[in-house]
Point group: C2
Chain length 694, copies 2
């Protein structure tokens, strides 16, 4: 059990000897905070008895829900889970050794760090990059922070330390920090028009998330203190209800940052400001198209559907769920569920990607889910993942985890190349290389997605388990070891041994520090049609796909759960309203959505001439084979298909069709997981394959 | 033969008695122009011997190519052709009696006319509508102008006279005219940034086109003179090569306007300015994405593909072809053909629509032709039509007329409802009413398309024929009578009797004023696979689809051409690169592309579950039937199909597909012409229908 030190808001307090004595901490502002808050705002502060910092930073999960009144589930710290050799370990190691360092170098060579140095006289370079470029540095810092929460990595820690020093040095004496609205643009700071487009608060939201992740990794609060200065010295005193100046969230993100900060400081003004922003400031008049696009500026609780910029919408939903977790405001909960139904019933790709329109990087209409023209920004899939994580914390309902798994293994995992150096901004569900689009790139001038992917993979262990007052929830499967404790303090070790997602068998050793009665909530994935679960060899009843199986018993060291999720290939059809998927099916095996890449098919096969043949009911469908040498090791699926031979050979756009029966040939089709597409030479790809009908 | 009066540039000249004596003209500025130009710019003016105005206005076609050195074909005036009862007559009558008057009222009620009155103190209303709203008034005026060229219509003439008076009264003393950049915005006029987005020159281009059409209808040059004041007093002296101020065409349109004005005035400075604009002004630095979007700002002759905003691109191509028609600059011709090939081989819908992306209302990549998400703005199809008209004038090549016919009968004709009061902005090739999109509307705040459609239908007779030094070209088929003359002055009457496009038989009586040898170039449509042509009952050889059949002979009164274009239904397939059309076919009969509307199919048929069955080779395919009561009278097509019965009935987005053979039922499918879709209750629609494959 961690050593708890009481602390409260940083203002109006004197240094606490006990906090200052903590050897590994350098908390000039946080360490300067202690219990004796005598200020007039104390009534607004979270009761100091439940607020703790000091060594507590090591206990905080991706979100610190330890005191959130409406959280059914509590996060565990990232370091409490060690992901061992298996599906995610390779991705995560490359993330730390390749992706994060190479992104550091790219942020340098593209002038993003010089933007800060310019403000401290260390660089003469002009400002570079779009208005939101600071956020990319902060998101990268967050990736490092989460990576370090799994154990020290001196190389990237040194990079982050240097970056943080450069960033913090650029902060102004009034707390303001942004490298774009400086010099002759300084007069535009936080002007209403700039708030809608200038991303100052978006950047600060990412600053806070980065600072908090780094603080939770190292205890180093240098960046966090700078964030607190921005919030407490500049933002909170200046912006909010009259007589303060108006405030609007041009790109939601600050809401999450403020609420997570509140979870550390207990300063309710931070939570209240997030709530104020979520309801919109009527003093800033905005055209309707703009509040739709921003998914902000009008009361969140008045929204009835997902629309506008997908990442903005997802981040607004994240912030609103955070707000609900702290306040229990029923109007938020109603809206969040309405929006979730709208998304999952009409606007989400089978990959978990969202935001189908490139126009405005936006949600389309219901069922508007084009494949070739899919946008599906990596950041939006991550936003979807993060939102469902918060919804899960409220409810413990596995339907949210199902969406998370779908997004994580498919629409998010596709966003980073297997070698960790190339990124997708958009994630189409079909692709033709002919027009020349390069789908994976090392760098985007708007480089939001790469560090977003990096922070997500780095944080992954923190998503594997949650605790509740009743016991422990297991959300995701991979070889791993949890070392943590139940909420009553009982130590608990859980080890998973599995080949998931290639195989659906998982052996879970449950080892409490002493025999104890609690519930082990075992997630039965929504796709697992024939799941079987046993404890110590004894089969359990009541196993239902898409639910947490509550295993209530007195657990003792040596107890073992065996879970088996039949991992046969499933053929998926879309709702008839999804025009682009009509006559087509997708193939899913376990959590993985599959696709056809042209390169894997018999030579000369034109993917658009192919249909999947499921008419032969003899024999096994979708023969699977694990190929260790392919794409980092992957199960491929094989199934019969036909390819139609075209008559025409000219290059005309339209021509007379003879209506003579097309000759077709039977060919074997080979499917690979969608996340692994576009990791070899440029090739055509499709997730939804036409189905041969007779 | 018209009475020709010499006239040259309006400046530095005194009134010509002969011009002033013309009874029906009120040409304060043009009538003030006469032969004696003593100014220093005379060297730049077109030789006055070839310039003629006065009664000449009655001889000018849609474009006045009478003196264009690189025009192989010359336009005939709109009034020279009377379209008689048949396919287009109904549309054109409704255009004049319903569409144009109702658009007048809508421009009033939406404050577009008050924008002008405000400047003359007659209105206190604030400016309404987007920055380009003036252009809609001008385009409507052009529609009236073209309508009046077919004969007087007092009601709409009175509307236009009043509107023109209001508009012209708002012109400033320096010639500038725009209702947006006034008052506190006046200082922004023609600033480089405003030129790229503010549409001042776009509006003036439409002003000139409207003024010219009205002038050619009535001889009333009040509006034209105001346009000349803008050009000669404000634009030409102020903008162009240094030391003049820089100029850029934020939305191409002014180029067409300036060149058509040059064709009236002979003032070469107008042509030169158009050419300068088409090459881009390097003093206005623009990011690449902007010059792509605008299809302007960089040398037109350096372009290699169609991209960016489709209407801008089409209008730029129109202006560039106009420039070529006057200058013969080979670099333009090369670029125009490159772009034409790019469009017709990779970027044009089967309906003749272009601009597939809603994002930026833009051309997509090659073969990016989605159906449900098709943009296909009505204005872009019209721009395509107008561009091909100009390419045709250069060459006399029927491949351009084929594109015009495709666009006219389908992607343009679909843009206006059959009752003439509702308009499509976008023209998708598939539609699902479920998300609630209303595809036809009376009014758009950006109401560019409705008056554009109105001017096109009003101008239609002017597109039916052209003359060349060798004789006459017949481009389009409908009951009609031409009363005009060959270029050598020989009078010529041509009457067409036909049920085109419902039937492919056309009887063409050719009646010269006296027997004369010339060539009658008869268009054989590209779709006409088995065309037969006879003269006075004698079959001609050498009939080739997609070419003009040159019938050279001594024509005498009483000669009759019989053309027969076999109008069987054709099944069309798309290039394999067009992903969205794979496994699908379109049906075309004559020039008309057909579609399925849900409302015409057996009750309960879900259109997306339907496939077309062409496997039965016995019996006639696509039985046609003319139904006089349906959609204003139309040929419907019937062909067998199947409908698949879905197993699922829930509203989930994705579900497990059983892979059991789907039950299917045979159903009769009924196709209607695409242009007539969405004229009844909201219904699903598709042009490209899945083909049953066995």
């Amino acid at each position: 059990m961690p050593d708890k030190k009481k602390i409260s808001r940083r203002k109006f307090v004197t240094a606490s000897a006990s906090a200052a004595a903590l050897s590994c901490l350098t908390l000039p502002r946080l360490a300067g905070a202690a219990a004796g808050d005598a200020g007039g705002e104390r009534a607004n502060a979270r009761p100091s008895s439940s607020a703790s910092v000091a060594s507590d930073w090591k206990e905080q999960g991706i979100e610190n829900l330890s005191k959130s009144p409406y959280a059914k589930l509590r996060n565990i710290p990232v370091h409490a889970v060690t992901i061992q050799s298996g599906f995610w370990a390779a991705r995560r190691e490359i993330n730390v050794t390749k992706s994060i360092p190479s992104m550091h170098d790219l942020l340098e060579t593209n002038g993003r760090m010089n933007n800060f140095r310019r403000l401290t006289g260390k660089s003469n370079e002009p400002q570079r990059g779009p208005v939101y470029s600071d956020s990319d540095v902060y998101k990268w810092t967050e990736a490092v922070g989460f990576a370090l929460q799994s154990g020290d990595r001196p190389e990237i820690r040194a990079m982050a330390e240097r970056a943080i020093a450069e960033v913090v040095a650029a902060q102004q004496s009034d707390g303001y920090l942004n490298t774009y609205y400086v010099g002759e643009k300084a007069s535009q700071r936080m002007q209403p028009q700039v708030q809608t487009t200038g991303h100052e608060l978006y950047c600060m939201g990412h600053f806070l998330q980065g600072a908090i992740a780094y603080y939770r990794a190292t205890g180093d609060s240098k960046m966090l203190d700078a964030g607190i200065r921005f919030v407490d010295d500049f933002l909170v005193p200046g912006y909010g209800p009259a007589p303060k100046k108006p405030v609007v969230s041009g790109h939601p993100e600050i809401e999450m940052g403020l609420i997570e900060l509140y979870r550390i400081t207990g300063d309710k003004r931070q939570l209240d400001l997030a709530g104020y922003i979520l309801q919109g400031d009527s003093r800033i008049a905005l055209p309707e198209y703009r509040t739709i696009y921003m998914f902000s500026g009008t009361p969140f609780t008045a929204r009835t559907k997902l629309e506008g910029h997908a990442v903005r919408a997802m981040y607004a939903c994240c912030g609103s769920t955070d707000y609900y977790l702290e306040t229990g405001d029923a109007a938020y909960w109603k809206t969040l569920n309405t929006l979730w139904d709208d998304m999952t019933k009409t606007k989400m790709y089978v990959t978990g990607g969202v935001g189908s329109r490139s126009d405005g990087e936006a949600f389309g209409d219901a069922y508007e889910l084009p494949n070739y023209l899919a946008y599906g920004e990596s950041c939006a899939a991550i936003g979807n993942f993060m939102w469902n994580w918060r919804m899960l914390a409220v409810t413990g309902d596995a339907k949210f985890t199902d969406v998370m798994e779908r997004a994580l293994y498919n629409g998010i995992n596709s966003g980073m190349s297997l070698d960790g150096t190339l990124y997708c901004y958009r994630n189409p569900l079909a692709f033709d290389p002919a027009p020349g689009e390069k789908i994976r790139n090392t760098w985007y001038d708007t480089t939001c997605c790469p560090p977003n992917l990096e922070r997500t993979f780095a944080a992954l262990p923190g998503y594997f388990y949650s605790t509740s007052k009743d016991g422990i929830y297991l959300h995701f499967y991979d070889n791993s070891e949890l070392n943590w404790h139940l909420e009553d303090g009982t130590g608990l070790r859980v080890t998973q041994k599995t080949k998931y997602p290639w195989d659906g068998s998982v052996e879970i050793a449950v080892t409490p520090s002493q025999a104890a009665e609690f519930t082990f909530f075992l997630r039965i994935p929504g796709w697992a049609e024939h799941a079987r679960v046993s404890v110590n060899g004894e089969a359990l009843s009541g196993v239902k796909q898409g639910e947490y199986l509550p295993i209530r018993r007195r657990w003792s060291p040596g107890d073992v759960i065996h879970a088996n999720f039949e991992m046969s290939s499933q053929v998926i059809e879309a709702n008839p309203h999804v025009i682009d998927d009509m006559g087509r099916v997708a193939v899913q095996r376990g959590p993985l959505v599959y696709c056809l890449e042209g390169i894997d098919q018999p030579a000369g096969t034109v993917l658009t001439d192919v249909a999947l043949d499921l008419t032969d009911s003899s024999g096994e469908r979708f023969q699977d084979e694990f190929r260790s040498e392919l794409l980092g090791g992957t199960v491929v699926l094989r199934q019969a298909g036909v390819v139609y031979e075209r008559e025409r050979s000219d290059d005309s756009l339209y021509s007379r069709y003879s209506a003579a029966p097309l000759r077709s040939r039977r060919i074997p089709l080979t499917f690979i997981p969608y996340y692994a597409w576009s990791n070899r030479q440029a090739s055509s790809m499709e997730v939804w394959t036409p189905l041969l009908r007779s």
